[in-house]
Structures are given as structure tokens and as C-alpha cells.
Symmetry: C2
Subunit: 277 residues, 2 copies
């Protein structure tokens, strides 16, 4: 089964289940157990977001035996997907919503089948544009950002590189990633938005990239600096990790159904699992 999930990360200690902490995974698993009585049910997501990070386009899968899914429908005229979506939303708190749940194609794995993840990092860099209604997912820091300078700096980071300088390292995991998009845009509300897309991200990588580029945008570092960091191959203390609440997982891309199994194979072979975000 495949779920589309959105959440406000403010009230969660991140995605991953932890004892005695409220996490997205923990809440989803509890909701699924309440609605579909599968013992030991586990959910897997495409992007394991940190504490305070939000998601609009999180993708999740769970293995639920077919007869149990069929039984959800009961005497309803709707199919089980609509009934399950409504029941899960009825059980969940309103800071996490299920957009849809559908039968997953054979070989589907939310994490290993994903081709790419796209995140947005939102900054309000002018006090006059501060919108209290958006404060939970927009980083407010009223120092003007030079978007042109940040975009020039970003170009050198496109493509496949070792992003160790921007990440929190994990033993034995590669920090080589393929960056497909890294561009700042001014949105209709005057916010500066970093759009980032890659095959996958290492721990803290998006916030490290956002932080480094913002140092350029505020004139603290030269335009050439982010590219120079690539040669370091290890975490750099000069890279300030941007605050979690500005970051939102927007979308995850998958190959066509018939290529899912091959993609899962290839991803597992290429990357140590713990580094996949």
C-alpha cells in the first residue's frame, strides 16, 4: 500500500520512530494499527525528515495483507482506498494528513524505488514581508539575500559530487550525490525559496547547502566559496546548517511501474542504506 502524506513538522521529533517521542512514523503506525489490525506493522518513507522539517509530498509504503485491505471497505459503497484515507485522517491529529492511499504496484518501495527527492527551503529576508501565518515553515531573517549571487554560486554544485562538507557524516555511508536542481527564486509573496532536487540527500545536506548559499547571499562569503567546499570531503564547521523549520519535502519521483524492481536493486547496490534520505 502506498500513502501520500503531508505534515507540519513543528510538533514532531522528526520522521523516525523513537521511544517516548512523538514522531511521524510513530503516529502513522499507531493510526494504521488502530484502523487495520496488522501486528508488527512498519511504515517506510521516501525522505526521513529531521525534527521540525515539514512535508507536503512525503511518500510512504506499508505491507498489509490483501484480505485485510478488502475487509476495510465493510458495507461502504466506496472502495477501500477512500474508506482507509478517511478513517486514518479521523484517527490522526490535524498536523498530519493522508492525501491518498492506493494499492502499491509490485516491487514498490517508497525509499529504494525513488528516483529523486525535491525539497524547498523558504526564507523571509525582509521584515516588511513577514507573514505570521507562514512562520512555522518560513525562516524569518530580515537581512536581504542576493539571489543572483547565490544562484551563481549554486551552479558549480550541480551534478555528481561528494557533498561531505555540507553533511553530517555517517560511518561507512557515501556522501556522493547527484544534484539535479539547486536554484533560488523569489515567490509571489516576496519570499526567497531554494528549490533542491537530487537522487537522494545525506543527513543535513539540504540545510547545509541552504546555509552555505545564504552566507554568500548575505555577502559573508565569496561566490566561489561553496564550490571550494566540495574539495574538503569532510564536514566543514564554517557551513552553518540552516534552521529546520524553513525546510519542506515537496515531492518524490518514481520510475514507471515496470522499472520499479530494477530501480530498487540498483539503489540498494549503490548506497549504504543508512545514508538514504
Amino acid at each position: 500500500m502506498r500513502l501520500a502524506v503531508a505534515y507540519d513538522g513543528t510538533g514532531f521529533a522528526g520522521w523516525a520512530r523513537q521511544p517516548r517521542l512523538r514522531t511521524v512514523q510513530g503516529c502513522l503506525e499507531a493510526a494504521l494499527r488502530a484502523v487495520v489490525r496488522v501486528p508488527g506493522l512498519v511504515v517506510t518513507c521516501a525522505g526521513r525528515t529531521d525534527a521540525g522539517v515539514h512535508a507536503r509530498g512525503q511518500v510512504v509504503h506499508a505491507d498489509i495483507p490483501r484480505p485485510m485491505l478488502a475487509a476495510i471497505r465493510g458495507r461502504s459503497a466506496q472502495d477501500w482506498t477512500a474508506v482507509l484515507t478517511r478513517r486514518l485522517n479521523g484517527v490522526l491529529d490535524d498536523d498530519v494528513r493522508i492525501g491518498s492511499c492506493v494499492r502499491a504496484p509490485a516491487g514498490f518501495d517508497a525509499r529504494f524505488a525513488a528516483l529523486w527527492r525535491r525539497y524547498a527551503y523558504r526564507v523571509c529576508d525582509e521584515a516588511a514581508n513577514a507573514d505570521p501565518l507562514l512562520r512555522r515553515h518560513v525562516y524569518l531573517r530580515p537581512t536581504p539575500l542576493d539571489l543572483a549571487a547565490m544562484n551563481t554560486a549554486a551552479v558549480a554544485l550541480h551534478g555528481e559530487h561528494d557533498f561531505a562538507a555540507f553533511c553530517r557524516a555517517r560511518d561507512g555511508a557515501t556522501t556522493v550525490r547527484s544534484l539535479q536542481r539547486l536554484t533560488w527564486e523569489r515567490d509571489a509573496d516576496g519570499l526567497a525559496v531554494l528549490h533542491v532536487q537530487a537522487d537522494a540527500f545525506c543527513h543535513h545536506m539540504v540545510r547545509g547547502l541552504a546555509g552555505a548559499l545564504m552566507s554568500v547571499g548575505r555577502g559573508r562569503q565569496p561566490v566561489s566559496w561553496p564550490a571550494e567546499l566540495l574539495t574538503a570531503r569532510a564536514r566543514q564547521s564554517t557551513v552553518v546548517v540552516a534552521p529546520a523549520h524553513g525546510l519542506t519535502l515537496e515531492e518524490v519521483g518514481y520510475p514507471p511501474d515496470e522499472e520499479l524492481a530494477a530501480r530498487v536493486e540498483r539503489t540498494r547496490a549503490h548506497r549504504a542504506p543508512a545514508s538514504q534520505r
Copy 2:
């Protein structure tokens, strides 16, 4: 002095100061007293929002003696407007922000000089579009709304009418208002948004209009029904007032500076003050 103010209404018992309750007016007056030491300072706004109603474009004025404004600057290289904006934002909680503060033109009155107020009422009418990041200012009710039917019904309400059927009455106050805009649109996120503009609004009027039109949009009432309510000239219990949190005061319009004094005169003469929202 004229202030541009935005707030998330969730944590406020409305605009108007009340003993022992957290209100926008109370917080603004306390912040101004902390920064500019004017005894008995009072602020006046363009649209006195109810508990739970938000504002992006609230306009506020306060009378502060010129020497006090000049003194705010101190030894700063900036002018007093920038210094005061920064200091007020430093004192205020992050659910209310000052966008700007400027010297008000002669005769300016945030309430009586306003030509029009524009509000937006936001509804998510499809579960798949529910965005937890917007849940504080979007009313989530996953029953599809027929925008075409609501817009047809709205046309008959345009112009000057007695909107008593949609309002909570106040003794002696007229409920005749001039509705300049009342249109539903689908926004980029798939939300249904009611844009409403009038010279001024009576108590609960926008939420009454939104509620009545949503009854049409869900097929519970015929398209002709809202126009028929206009003839009632008194509050109708069939009009369900839409929840406060979907409503945001977006913008307030004023005449050119040289026409401000005349506008204040005319407004005071036309309407009993207590009905002005």
C-alpha cells in the same frame, strides 16, 4: 503614526482589548508603551477582527507626540520608522508582526478614513489537498464546493443592500453596506477562496456571507436563496456562520492624503461607530 500589521489570530481573543485576555490591540499597546513611553496610548485599527480571524493587511494608527518619535532614533543612523519597526518586532511575540510604521498624513484615521476592506475566506474542500502547514488559516471540510453555483448566487448580493440577514445585529447601527466584490476562485493549491470587498462590514458579515454561499456550493440551498435572504432585514438562523479561522483581512484601501479629512467626516456622519468593522 500609521502601522501595517499582520497576525495569526489563533492565539488571540480577537482585536479589541479585553481584561485578562490576550488580544491584538492589547499586545500592540503594550509593545508601544514598552518602546515609546506615552501614557494612556491607544491604537485604532481599520478592521476589528473577531477571535481566531487573521490579518495580513491590518492598518493601525496611534497618536504619538513628534518629539517622542524623533527621540526613538537615538544615535542610530536609520530614521525613527525603521528603528521603531525593529524594536516593536523585538518586543512582540512572533504571531504578530509590524510590516512598517510611518508618519501618518494629517487627518489620517485607520478606521474612519478607510474606503474599503478586503477579506479572503479560504476553504479546502477536498481531502487530497489538505495541507497541514496551512491548517490554521484554511477551513478544512472535504465536501466539494460548486464554485460556479456560488458565484452565480453571489452576483445578486453585489452593490448596496441591507445585509441584516447575514450579520449579528447591534442596536441602532445600520446594516446597509456596499459590496464591491464577492467572488470565489480556485487558487494554485486547489483551495476555494472567497474574495470579499466592501466599504465596511457588519459584525459576522463576511463569515455569514461565506457560510450562506457554501450552503449553495454544497447543494443544500438553491442558487436563488442568498438573494432572498436580503429581503429578511433581520438575522436568519438558516445562515450558518463560517468558522473564524478561514478568514483573513487582506487589505484596506484609503483615499489620497488630501481627501482623508473629508472621508473621515463622511464616514462618521453615515454610520454609527459601533457597526464599523
